[in-house]
Each structure stands twice: as C-alpha cells, then as structure tokens.
C-alpha cells in the first residue's frame, strides 16, 4: 500500500460521459468490430443487407444468445459452464419422450430436468469448491450419455406436435418466436445484473468471494443460482433446437455449444476472471460470430477459413479489451 503505482489523488479518472454508460463496459471494440463486419458484408455479400436476412441472422443467433446469457452470469462469478450443450440435449430428449403426454407435462419436465444438472454443477462448485471447469466437464460427458439414454437408448426421436413446433418455427409478424425468447432472456439478464440484489451478488461473488461473504452476500446460493440459470437457459435453447429440427437428436443437439457461447461471452467483453459482466456485450459477441458464419456460408467460403477467422476475432477482441496493466 505504500506509494502505489496509481496515486489516486493525483489521477482520479474523469467521470464517464453520459453516452458511455449506454454502452456497457469495455465492449466498444466488439461493437466496432460488428459494425465493420456488417458494413463489409453489406457492401460485398449479395443479399446480405436484406430484411429477410436480418431475421435469418436473428433466428440463428438466438439459441447461442440464450446459452451465452447464462454463460455470462456463470463467467462473471469467475466460473465456467462446459455442460450447456449436454443440457440442451437432455432437455430436448426429455421433451421428445414426453410430448405424447402433452406440452403441459413435457415442457416443465424438460426445463426442470435440464435445470437440475445446473443445480448439481452449482452445488459441487459452491459447496465442495471443486473447480468449475472440472465439474462441468464431468457433467458434459455424463449429460451427453444421459440424453441418449433418455431418448430411448440413443434413438433419434421424431417430434410431431404442431404446438411444440411453434416454439422453433413460429413467427410473430416477421419476428421468429425464438428471437423473442432470446430477447426476453437478454432483457432479463440485463435487468438482473443492473437492478436486482442478485446481480450485485453475482458480481461481488466473482470479484471477491471472501469480501462478499463478509458483507452478507449469500455467496453459495448465488453460485448455485447462476449455474441453475445457465442450465435453465440452455434447456430453453435445447427445446427450441429440438422444435426446429422436429426431432430430438440427443447425440448432436448442442454439440460444441459451450465453445460458441464462451467465445461470444469473451468477445463481448466479459472477463474470464470474473467480477465484470456485460450481457449486451455478449449479444454483440454472439452476433459477430453469427455474422461471420452466415456471411461465409453466403459467400460459399470453405469451412476452414471461417474457423480461422473466428479464431482471429476471438484473439483480437480479447486483446483490445484486456484490462490495462496496473
């Protein structure tokens, strides 16, 4: 504490201007990158800048956004959730198996089933203090197996239920339902983080768990809730994918989703070390990744190139947003 490198009295940073508070945290780089990507595509990719493609991009990005919002919460507590893909598969499988008993049974059962995995993750992380990456790696493996066991020993269960199909294929005007669901999850995420004690607790638990505990923050409960929320959102995403596919493909639904979601979160400016979170940044991150994927498909560029670009974007975004060394 003696003679710190940053004498507070000498250099108190100026208060940020009002407009800066609208754009959360250090996500400018991501927003700028998204802008550049969209502008380039509008210029060079035929049919990119059309209304129908806008809905298309939103449609495709919505499941990633759902999962990534939950992932943002988890990461801002300093954790990580690798199990989201498997949770999606579990939710899809449960719904598919139970749909002939009606949506009122199938949907709640699927959501609860998926969320339970999150509760398990959270309990192990919070109570036993096992590292999140290991816990969720284990549930990733076991969950994928479980999803296949549930869907009649690995079969691809076809779903033929008009009501359920709406979830993934319905529209409100031109807006797909799933985009609305994703939007709702984003709004809920922003609201939770900004306006509720829970949001403060999440950031406090991620920023300094010991201090949070002494300040009366229910750290363990917060951590369990965060993993449960992540699993719940993943379950919703799993239901949407199953509905869109018209089948529960337990082996493939949500495969590698954890990496997509983590990429969206870090590109959006949430630090992996915890204590900082920006849900809107995550949305931007997810959009960046989606625009790359969509435009590369539209430009018919080989798969490997889009992988390489994704990698570069992740690095660049994180590099630009890295906290200044103190």
């Amino acid at each position: 504490m003696t003679g710190a490198a940053k004498p507070a009295r000498v250099a108190a940073p100026p208060s940020p201007p009002a407009w800066r508070r609208l754009v959360p945290g250090p996500a400018y780089a991501a927003v700028a990158a998204l802008g550049v990507l969209v502008a380039l595509n509008a210029l060079f990719t035929p049919n990119f800048a059309t209304a129908s493609n806008l809905w298309n991009v939103l449609l495709q990005v919505s499941t990633v956004v759902l999962v990534a919002v939950g992932m943002t919460l988890v990461i801002s507590t300093g954790g990580i959730d690798l199990s989201v893909g498997s949770v999606m598969a579990i939710a899809g499988a449960v719904a598919a198996v139970l749909l002939d008993r009606g949506m009122a049974v199938a949907l709640p059962a699927a959501l609860i089933g998926g969320t339970l995995v999150g509760v398990l993750n959270g309990a192990l992380v919070a109570a036993l203090r096992v590292q999140p990456i290991v816990v969720t790696l284990a549930t990733l493996i076991a969950g994928r197996g479980l999803a296949q066991v549930i869907s009649h020993e690995g079969e691809l269960v076809t779903i033929d239920h008009p009501g359920f199909a709406l979830l993934g294929r319905g529209h409100l005007g031109p807006i797909p339902y799933q985009a609305l669901i994703a939007l709702a999850s984003v709004a809920a995420g922003v609201f939770l983080l900004r306006a509720t004690p829970f949001g403060r607790y999440v950031l406090a638990a991620g920023g300094n768990p010991a201090a949070a505990r002494l300040a009366g923050v229910p750290v363990q409960r917060t951590i369990v809730s965060v993993y449960a929320a992540s699993a719940f959102l993943a379950s919703v995403a799993g239901l949407i994918v199953a509905s869109r596919l018209g089948a529960s493909d337990a082996a493939k639904i949500g495969q590698n989703m954890e990496l997509d979601a983590i990429a969206a979160v870090v590109v959006g400016g949430t630090a992996l070390s915890g204590g900082r979170a920006t849900v809107l940044g995550t949305v931007v991150g997810a959009l960046i990744m989606q625009v790359i994927a969509t435009s590369f498909n539209m430009l018919l560029v080989p798969y490997s190139w889009s992988l390489a670009l994704k990698a570069a974007i992740i690095l660049l975004a994180v590099y630009l947003q890295r906290p200044k060394r103190v």
Binding site: I80, L124, L128, R129, V130, Q131, I133, V134, V135, L137, A138, T139, L140, I141, A142, G143, R144, G145, L146, A147, Q148, V149, E153, G154, A250, L259, I262, A263, V266, L272, S273, P302, Y303, S304, W305, L307, A308, K310, A311, A312, I314, L315, V318, Y319, R322, R325
Partner: protein, 330 residues
C-alpha cells in the same frame, strides 16, 4: 549467537498435511489398483500380457499429450489446443513423409512446437488468458489441418520406414509408442523434480508474482512450457499418424478434454503449483483401463459408457475436493 526459537506450531500440522497430500495423489493409485483387480477377476483376458501391452499402447499418445498438459497446468495455465496441434503434426508429418522420415518427424514436431510458441508468446507477452489463447488455437490449428489437406486423410509414405517404426515398431516385447511414453515420463519426472526448469514451473504456478520478484524469467519459462506442450502433442500426433499409417485432419478431436481429465484424475490441481508427471501417468492409465473394461464387457451401450465416465470423473473430483479442503483447512 544462540538459536532463537519461535513458537513451533507448524511442526505437527506439517506431517498431517503431507499425509493428506500423499493420499490426494494415491487416491488415483488406489482406484487404478482397484480397477485392475476388478478387471483381472472378471475378465480372463484382462491380466494377459497382450492386454496389458494393448492398454499401454492405446494410451501412449494421449499420455504424451497429457504430459505436456501437466506442465502447462502446473504453471496455472491450460492448453485447449493440444488436440488440434496433434492433428496438425500428424498431417504435416504424413505430407512430408515422401521426403523421408527425418523431414517428416522434424517438420511435424517443429510445426506443433511453433504453434505452441505462438500460444506461449500470446500468453506471456501479449498477456491474454491461456484459456482464450488456446481456445483460439484449438479452432485455428484445426482449420489449418483441414485446409492443408483439403479435408482428406494423408497417407504416410511407406518409404518413411523410421517414421512408421515410431508407430508400429517394437523394442523386444515393448511396442515403440510405449517405450516413447515411458521415456517421456521418465524425462518429464526428472525434469520436474531435478531441473531448474521444472522447479520454475511449480514456482510460477504457485505464485507468478512471487516468481517474477524472485527474478525468474517468467515469460521465457511460460513460452517454453507451451512450446513443450505443443511439441509433446505433436509427438503424440506423429506417433498416431505412424500407427494409423495416415495423417488425419480430424484426429485428436476432444483430446484436450481427455488430457485435462487425466491430469485432474491423477491429482494435479488446476490451480497450478501442485502435482506431477507420475500422477498424470496414473490418471491416463486409470481412464484407459476403464475404457478397456468397457470393451471387454462389450455389452454396455456407448451412452451408458458416457454416463459412467462422467459420473466416475465427478466422483474422483469430489473425493479430491474433500481431501483438498481438509488439507487447506488444517
């Protein structure tokens, strides 16, 4: 001057902590022994030399990858790119095999090591988190392997006999991959315990700040560690390509998770600074034996195998978590 004696509270706690630490690691050994006893009693084929050699050979490549992962995890980092680097090395070696074994092996190893160095530089110099750097490398290196081969497997030229020998040769009764594995772990163990480089890995994983202030060349060591991890993944890839007779751009998918699981099951902590090569070898063999038992049983559906693997990993981790907590609380 007389020796000033400080209140000696530490002495009694110390042995307790040590015993627990030992148990932490020997937990995996106990599990391995138990799994082997179980296998030997249940399956006539388990305890045959043939099967033992099988298990060792099958796991030698993952073992090499996991050794590199151990080094990285000891520094408190993580390397998600190993599976992709393995594929790149295998593909490069296969492509160069028409020019002879030496260029093939050197090229494969060199490429993987170079990519490892890129990881290290981004982590140590540009100061981006290891998780993100290696996640990006996982994606980028896979892209490289796919692009370089036009998404097709590349045959290892039969002329590259030394290369093929690496994957299929035998030293007496010992297959060469196994010999390589043993050699690598011996060197790794010696390195970690008896060389400065090894001690520095522990130091950095324990406290990077402290290591820096004690004058260790932290950046150089971190870069060397990721280079080593890349090289070992590359060696794994070359052995695999030699064994299969082809370099596959999709080889090693998901191996980073298997390697992490092996390291963790062995008892090395992901927080860095504690663990070692020996425990990782135990972890690799433990997971390998479990797969072997699944196959010998032959009637467990693949999805139940997934469930069992996940639950097993969870169980080991929970037990270790409890032991670890007791260790830190005492």
């Amino acid at each position: 001057m007389s020796t000033t004696s400080l209140p000696s509270v530490a002495g009694s706690r110390f042995t307790g902590a040590r015993a627990l630490g030992l148990l932490l690691r020997s937990g995996a050994v106990v599990a391995l022994v138990a799994a082997c006893i179980f296998g030997a009693m249940r399956y006539y084929a388990f305890a045959t030399p043939e099967n033992v050699v099988n298990v060792l050979r099958q796991n030698s490549m993952l073992g090499l990858v996991a050794l590199g992962m151990t080094f990285v995890i000891l520094t408190g980092g993580i390397d998600l790119s190993v599976g992709s680097l393995l594929a790149v090395a295998g593909v490069v070696a296969a492509m160069l095999s028409t020019h002879g074994s030496l260029p093939a092996i050197a090229g494969g190893l060199g490429t993987a090591m170079l990519l490892g160095i890129v990881n290290g530089v981004l982590i140590a110099k540009v100061r981006i988190q290891p998780f993100i750097v290696t996640l990006a490398m996982l994606i980028a290196a896979r892209a490289l392997a796919l692009a370089a081969t036009a998404e097709q497997s590349v045959t290892v030229s039969p002329d590259a006999s030394a290369l093929s020998w690496l994957g299929r040769g035998e030293l007496g009764p010992v297959p060469l991959p196994v010999a390589l594995l043993v050699l690598a772990y011996l060197i790794g163990w010696t390195m970690l315990r008896y060389t400065r480089f090894g001690r520095y890995l522990y130091a950095i994983g324990d406290s990077e700040d402290a290591a820096r202030l004690m004058g260790l060349p932290v950046d150089r060591i971190v870069i060397a560690t990721y280079a080593l991890s890349g090289a070992l993944a590359g060696l794994g890839g070359i052995v695999l390509a030699a064994r299969l007779g082809a370099g596959q751009p999709v080889a090693g998918t998901g191996w980073e998770l298997d390697a992490i699981a092996a390291v963790v099951v062995g008892g090395t902590l992901l927080t860095g600074g504690q663990g070692g090569a020996g425990s990782t070898l135990v972890g690799v063999l433990l997971l390998g034996v479990i797969f072997n038992l699944f196959n010998l049983e032959g009637t467990i559906s693949p999805w139940w195998q997934w469930v069992l693997r996940g639950v097993f990993l969870l169980g080991v981790v929970i037990v270790q978590g409890r032991l670890q907590r007791r260790l830190t609380h005492e």
